[in-house]
Structures are given as structure tokens and as C-alpha cells.
């Protein structure tokens, strides 16, 4: 917002709201606002899609919709950054206080999902929860979604630090192993465990994490073995625990703790590489295809009644509103 005046920002939000309201696709459907570049109007053609530099962020969530949910699927709208998503959400609610004939939106089926991030984002506007961290505390218990409370939430935050952290959970190792293009991390065949170790080792050089250590430590308080007295202690205790525990469940808890607090985007974007080969695709294109495969993983998980993955449970909750 720094480069925008308040008036320009309000205009942008208003435009975005109008675009959503007038979208015929949303009639009788759930609408979910999410982060990501706002699509350029008029590009909804096959060639327009082909010319996109990368797959729209909103399409990742669409790819995660359980495969049996074939009709009245939720419609995702990328609304810019986290603040913009929340502003758009509240503006839409405001515009729909009274029923209106110039909108296809059903305010009772309006949702938003934003990244948890390390900085706390206020929600304001008399929302049930004052900020993103409060939503997180209500919505998640340890590594799991608190399903008792899930249906109360219209604004969801990711249970991991960013959407991209969901691209690196331990259960995805077989997806990477079976991928049609061999992947590497630090010039070695991609093993998620090596990424976790790199993330752990880099904790003390992450200023964002250092500046928000208190928030981070509250999130991972379920890992009682971790020492949160300083960033160095956190790093050292996490590495010690991670390298010593053999129980898979405990190890996964540590990974989830790490993915709740340690920014992962650069590891995803820069360090997940295909093997050096002139025939391998450009990185952007490869990442697009990987996220499609990851979306398929979550979509398939959503078919399991006992799944505990955050994203499938998000959809399970949404499905109650069809």
C-alpha cells in the first residue's frame, strides 16, 4: 500500500469487489478470496491462459478440491496481498448488508484464506477474531485443524507459515520421487529431509523469524522439547531433536513446527531444481507442474474420511455450505 494512496487502494478494492459480484461463475456457489496476483481483466481465453507467466495462485487451491466434488465447486479469487484479501472480504460483506439484485454473490457463502506469515495481520471490522494469529489459535491445535471450531471460521489462515509450506510436507516425498523430471536440492536428489535440515540450520540468519520469535514460539508450544529462549537455542534444540528422534509421528511434528515458523518460499522457488539437463523445462514451468501434482495429492487426500491434512479439512468444512 506504500505506493498507493488510501483513495487508490479503496478504488482497487471496490473494482475487485465489482468484478467478483458480477462474475456469473459464482452464482449459487461458495466464493473464497485468496492471495495472489489479481488477474488482468479480459484474459479469460485459452491463449490468455497460455501466455501467463505462471499458473494463477488461486488455481492451486482449485486443484486441491476433492475429486468427488464435481459440481458447485468453490470459486477462488486472487485478490493481491493478505491485507487486500481481508479488505476485499470486508468490503464485500459491507456491500451485501442488504440483498442486492446487481450481484451474484451470496454473502453466506463468502470465505477467505490467507497465509499465516510471521507478522500478525489485524482483521478489524468487528470480526470474531481480531487478527490472523487469533484465527490460527482458534483454528489449529498442534499440527491439526480443530474441526470442532472450523465451521465458525469464514476467514481461514493457513496452518503453516505460507501456502508454499504445503508444497514441502513430508507426505509429498513420494510425489517428488515419482515425478517425471528428476528433482534435486543442493545438487543431490531431492530429499525433503535435507530441505528441513537446511531450513533448521538457517533459522538464526532469518531476521524475519528473529523479529517475530515470540509469535513463532507460541505457535509451536506443542513441541515441549524445543527451547525457545533464543533463536540460537531454538535452532539448536530443533536440530538436535530432529536428528535424534526416530518416531515418525514425532519427527513429523517437528517438521510441521518448522513449517509453521520458518519462511520457505526461497527454498521452494530457488532450491527445488530439476537435474541439469538441456531438455528440462524452465524453472517457472516446472514449479507450475509440480504444484499441479501437489494439488492432485491434496485432492486425493480429500477423499479419505480420516484425513488430517489442513487443506482437505478446509474443503470438508466448505462443503457444508454448498
Amino acid at each position: 500500500m506504500s505506493f498507493q494512496s488510501k483513495k487508490e487502494h479503496e478504488q482497487l478494492i471496490e473494482q475487485q469487489c465489482q468484478a467478483i459480484m458480477k462474475s456469473t461463475h459464482i452464482r449459487n456457489k461458495i466464493v473464497v478470496l485468496c492471495e495472489g496476483d489479481i488477474p488482468t481483466p479480459g484474459l479469460r481465453t485459452v491463449i490468455g491462459y497460455q501466455q501467463l507467466q505462471k499458473r494463477p495462485d488461486a488455481d492451486f487451491y482449485t486443484a486441491c478440491i476433492p475429486s468427488s466434488w464435481t459440481q458447485k465447486k468453490p470459486e477462488f479469487f486472487s485478490c493481491g496481498g493478505r491485507g487486500n484479501v481481508l479488505d476485499t472480504y470486508f468490503k464485500l460483506l459491507e456491500l451485501h448488508r442488504e440483498p442486492r439484485s446487481d450481484s451474484y454473490l451470496d454473502r453466506n457463502r463468502l470465505f477467505a484464506i490467507v497465509d499465516l506469515d510471521l507478522q500478525v495481520q489485524p482483521t478489524g471490522k468487528d470480526y470474531l477474531f481480531p487478527n490472523t494469529e487469533a484465527i490460527f489459535k482458534s483454528l489449529y491445535q498442534g499440527t491439526k485443524v480443530n474441526q470442532q471450531k472450523a465451521s465458525q471460521h469464514r476467514i481461514w489462515v493457513t496452518g503453516l507459515i505460507y501456502k508454499e509450506a504445503y508444497f514441502l510436507i513430508p507426505e509429498l516425498q513420494p510425489v517428488f520421487d515419482d515425478y517425471s523430471v528428476p528433482l534435486t536440492f543442493n545438487s543431490q536428489p531431492l530429499q525433503l529431509e535435507n530441505i528441513y535440515l537446511a531450513l533448521g540450520n538457517d533459522m538464526d540468519s532469518d531476521t524475519n523469524l528473529m523479529d517475530n520469535l515470540t509469535t513463532a514460539c507460541e505457535r509451536i508450544s506443542y513441541c515441549t522439547e524445543l527451547d525457545c529462549s533464543s533463536i540460537n537455542q531454538l535452532k539448536s534444540s530443533w536440530l538436535t531433536q530432529f536428528q535424534s528422534v526416530t518416531d515418525k509421528e514425532q519427527k513429523d511434528e517437528l517438521v510441521y513446527a518448522l513449517l509453521m515458523i520458518k519462511p520457505v518460499k526461497k527454498y521452494w522457488e530457488e532450491q527445488t531444481q530439476p537435474e541439469p539437463n538441456p531438455f528440462n523445462p524452465p524453472l517457472e514451468r516446472l514449479r507450475d507442474r509440480l504444484t499441479l501434482a501437489i494439488g492432485h495429492f491434496y485432492s486425493t487426500e480429500g477423499e479419505k474420511s480420516d484425513t488430517e491434512h489442513h487443506i482437505p479439512i478446509f474443503f470438508k468444512t466448505l462443503h457444508q455450505f454448498v
Binding site: 461463475h25 479469460r44 485459452v46 491462459y49 501466455q51 482449485t62 514451468r285 507442474r289
Partner: protein, 454 residues
């Protein structure tokens, strides 16, 4: 099978087409876009006809209808119709389809790769009129011989009658002599032509060029196929294998370039659209890889019930007990595809219990009229039944999204990969929603490519 790359220098609206369909892309579904009239349907039909018809003599008329629209530019010796790279599961097979004229043969001869006398692409067409002539002459000989055998001189005849018969006999003998001489010449001509055809084929064989067809209207520019690194016998065998692995699905109201010009006109003539449907139906009996999705796709569904019933019965015969659940499986699969609360069942003829169609009911058995089902639902059912039978094939689909709600336009990509996971799908489409189920790199376009400044 996987089509890796297709190149079409020029064919109708297609110009400088060069599209890659990457082998390692998952899912193997590639939307193909262009503006209206950009040539998407033409490209799919061209690929389909070349690969499905080239190795089957009874399918060559379809290929010839398509080739009637090709002409070699003045002064040129050949025209490359299409180049394709196919992954056959083990290696890349690079194939080229080209229309040629006799100048092409001359240019090959002058390269010195083979020494041969007079050969021409017209040779194979000389045999037919000659064999017809031979047949006619033989007929005449037989007729004259019969006539002559009937001319008998008997003692009761007058001298005049006897002389008349003898005169006729002499005439017939002369005629027969001429006819036999003519037959002999024709036979020799046929023999020469056959030898020329053999020489032509041998020449092409040495050049590793497989002669596919030369229709009467494309006599001087037959279609040849060359596969890099393959002898002609291997090329023939590969084309034959490939023909079973290529499929085309498209709307029944599409103009099909492989139909005869007269049949194509039926679509636009008032009162003859039904005849176009009949022509399409007839073509489908000869083109097993061709499927049209429309309301009549219930035929495919009906057939699937019959097949399942027969499979269950066969198991009964083989095992001695009713253990087969094929019919039940089909019922369950169809139910999953229909909107909640609807069921599909076979429609039995009350007289003899033969399956004559399908009927739809609610969960509690109340009959539903076909109008209670959307066109989209029927189409989706039809595609499901059709595509489930196809494995490891290249499936070309035109306007698959028509009649689908945006959710189903997106869903069809997921459906196809579930129903026929080993297939490659190339979908000519105008649907943005369909593309969203894939990555931008999956989407291919037919727009003219910008060339670097020289």
C-alpha cells in the same frame, strides 16, 4: 503412444504449425487453442486421418477425400503434408507424410541412389482401365464363341441358309481373331504396367518411402510416408499398429474433411442434415477410432450394458455359477457420473428382453424423461464409456467442453485422466476453465509464430 510433435507447413487454414506435446507432462492432457477458423479442427482431423487410415485399404477413401484438398505448388516436386514425432513407448519415431509428383521421382533418380528405367506415379492408375478393357474383351470373345458354337449347318437347310451361316461364321472367326489379338496386346500392356508398378514400388522401397495412396483425383500426387531409420516393411507395420492407437471424438455437427464433398454439403442443405448424420454413422462403421458426442451417445452406453451382461453370462457358463458383477459395476459407475438422485438402467424390449436403449429413473424408481437429463450429463456419460475402453492411445477431442457447465469444463480434464489414465489427450477448445485444470505450459496454440528478423 504419445504424439510428441506435429508440424504442418501448409494445409487449408494451417500455416507453419509446429507444436510440441511434451512427454513428461503430467497429466498428458494438452488444450489446443486458436481463434475461430484458426484450424484446430482441421489439425485434429488431419492427424487422425493420416494415422488411422493410411494402413487400411478400406479407409483410404477417407484419406483421399482429405487429399483432394491438397495441391503441389506449380514448379514444385512435392509438398510435405505433415511431420510427426511419436513416442512408441521405447523410442521416438519420426514420420513424414508427403504428396509428390513425377518430378520428385526424377530428383531422387538424379541423386543416384537407385538405377531404374521409366517410372511414374501414374503407373498404378494405368492398370485399372487396362484390366477393365481386358475384362470387356474377354466378354466379347466369350460372346462371339458362343454365337459361333450356335451356328450349326444341318442337312435340312437350303444352300442359301448354309451359305449365310458359313458367312457369319467366317465373320465371327475374323472378329475372334481380332479380339484375341487385342486381348493379347492388353495382357502384354497389363504385364508392362505391372512391371512398371513393381519397379516404382521397388524404387520407393529402396528410397524407404511407403506408397500409401493415390486417389483418382490425386493421381499425379500420391501420398507417401517416410519414417526415419525404418525400412518400408517396418513403416507399414508401424502405421498399422498406430492406426489402432489413434482416436478422434468431435461434435456430430462438425464439418468432416474426410467425408466426400457431396456428404459435406448435406450439413448445409435445408432438410438434409439427417442425411449427414447417416453419412457420419456409415463412416463410423469403417473408422473404429471415430466417435461423435451427441444425444446418440446413448448408443455407446447401451452397448456397455450389453457387453457387461454378456461378460456376466460368460462367467456363468465358465464357472457354473452367477458370480459376475460387470453389470453391477457399470450401473454403479454410471450412477456416480449422474447428478445426485438419478439412475440409469438398460431399456428392455418387453417382447424378447433384448436391450434396446437406456432409461433414467430417480432413486425411488420414478421414470425420468430424457429431457430431465441435461445434454451435458448424457455427453459426459458417453465420453466416459467410450474413453474407458481406450488404452495407451493418442486421443484427439474437438470442442469437448460444449454443453458443459464451467465446473464440468474444468472437471473433464480430471475425468479423462481417471477414465483413461494411460492415454494422451489433445483437446481443441475455447474453454479457459478447462485450461485452468492444467498449467499454462500444457496449453498449445495455433497462432502464427513470429520469426526472427533476418
Amino acid at each position: 503412444m504419445h504424439l510428441l510433435r506435429v508440424q504442418v507447413p501448409e494445409f487449408r487454414a494451417l500455416k507453419n504449425v509446429d507444436i510440441e506435446f511434451e512427454k513428461d507432462f503430467i497429466p498428458k492432457v494438452f488444450p489446443l487453442g486458436s481463434q475461430n477458423g484458426g484450424g484446430k479442427s482441421t489439425l485434429l482431423q488431419l492427424i487422425f486421418v493420416l494415422l488411422h487410415c493410411s494402413s487400411h485399404p478400406d479407409r483410404l477413401p477417407f484419406l483421399n477425400n482429405l487429399l483432394a484438398q491438397v495441391s503441389i505448388p506449380e514448379g514444385e516436386s512435392h509438398k510435405v503434408l505433415a511431420k510427426m514425432d511419436i513416442w512408441d513407448g521405447e523410442k521416438v519415431v519420426s514420420m513424414e507424410f508427403l504428396c509428390c509428383n513425377d518430378t520428385f521421382l526424377e530428383s531422387l533418380k538424379s541423386n543416384g541412389t537407385a538405377t531404374i528405367g521409366d517410372i511414374s506415379f501414374a503407373s498404378p492408375f494405368r492398370e485399372k482401365p487396362l484390366t477393365e478393357k481386358q475384362s470387356q474383351t474377354s466378354g466379347k470373345i466369350s460372346q462371339s464363341t458362343n454365337e459361333m458354337n450356335n451356328l450349326k449347318v444341318i442337312t435340312e437347310m437350303t444352300e442359301v441358309q448354309k451359305s449365310d451361316i458359313m458367312g457369319k461364321k467366317t465373320l465371327l472367326e475374323e472378329q475372334l481373331k481380332l479380339l484375341n489379338a487385342e486381348l493379347e496386346v492388353t495382357k502384354q500392356e497389363i504385364s508392362v504396367v505391372r512391371s512398371m508398378v513393381e519397379s516404382l514400388m521397388e524404387f520407393l522401397r529402396v528410397e524407404k518411402l511407403h506408397y500409401i495412396t493415390g486417389s483418382s483425383n490425386a493421381e499425379k500426387q500420391p501420398l507417401l510416408c517416410r519414417i526415419v531409420g525404418m525400412e518400408v516393411s517396418e513403416t507399414k507395420s508401424f502405421l498399422s499398429k498406430l492406426a489402432d492407437k489413434i482416436f478422434l471424438a468431435a461434435p456430430s455437427t462438425q464439418v468432416y474433411l474426410f467425408l466426400s464433398p457431396d456428404n459435406r454439403k448435406l450439413l448445409f442443405k435445408a432438410g438434409t442434415v439427417d442425411n449427414y448424420g447417416t453419412a457420419l454413422k456409415e463412416s463410423k462403421t469403417k473408422l473404429p477410432g471415430f466417435f461423435t458426442y451427441n444425444i446418440t451417445s446413448t448408443e455407446v452406453i447401451t452397448k456397455s450394458f450389453i457387453v457387461a451382461r454378456d461378460q456376466d453370462f460368460a462367467e456363468r457358463v465358465n464357472t457354473g455359477r452367477y458370480s459376475g458383477d460387470h453389470y453391477q459395476q457399470v450401473l454403479n459407475e454410471m450412477k456416480q457420473l449422474l447428478a445426485t438422485g438419478k439412475k440409469i438402467l438398460p431399456q428392455l424390449n418387453p417382447k424378447d428382453n433384448t436391450v434396446e436403449g437406456v432409461r433414467f429413473t430417480t432413486e425411488d424408481g420414478t421414470e425420468l424423461y430424457p429431457e430431465n437429463l441435461s445434454h451435458g450429463e448424457l455427453k459426459r456419460l458417453g465420453i466416459c464409456v467410450w474413453s474407458r475402453k481406450i488404452e495407451n492411445a493418442i486421443v484427439l477431442m474437438d470442442e469437448v467442453e460444449n454443453a458443459f457447465h464451467p465446473d464440468w469444463q474444468y472437471q473433464i480434464v480430471l475425468d479423462l485422466t481417471e477414465w483413461g489414465p494411460t492415454n494422451q489427450y489433445i483437446l481443441a477448445t475455447h474453454s479457459y476453465e478447462l485450461c485452468r485444470a492444467l498449467t499454462p505450459a500444457h496449453v498449445k496454440d495455433l497462432e502464427p509464430k513470429l520469426l526472427p528478423v533476418r
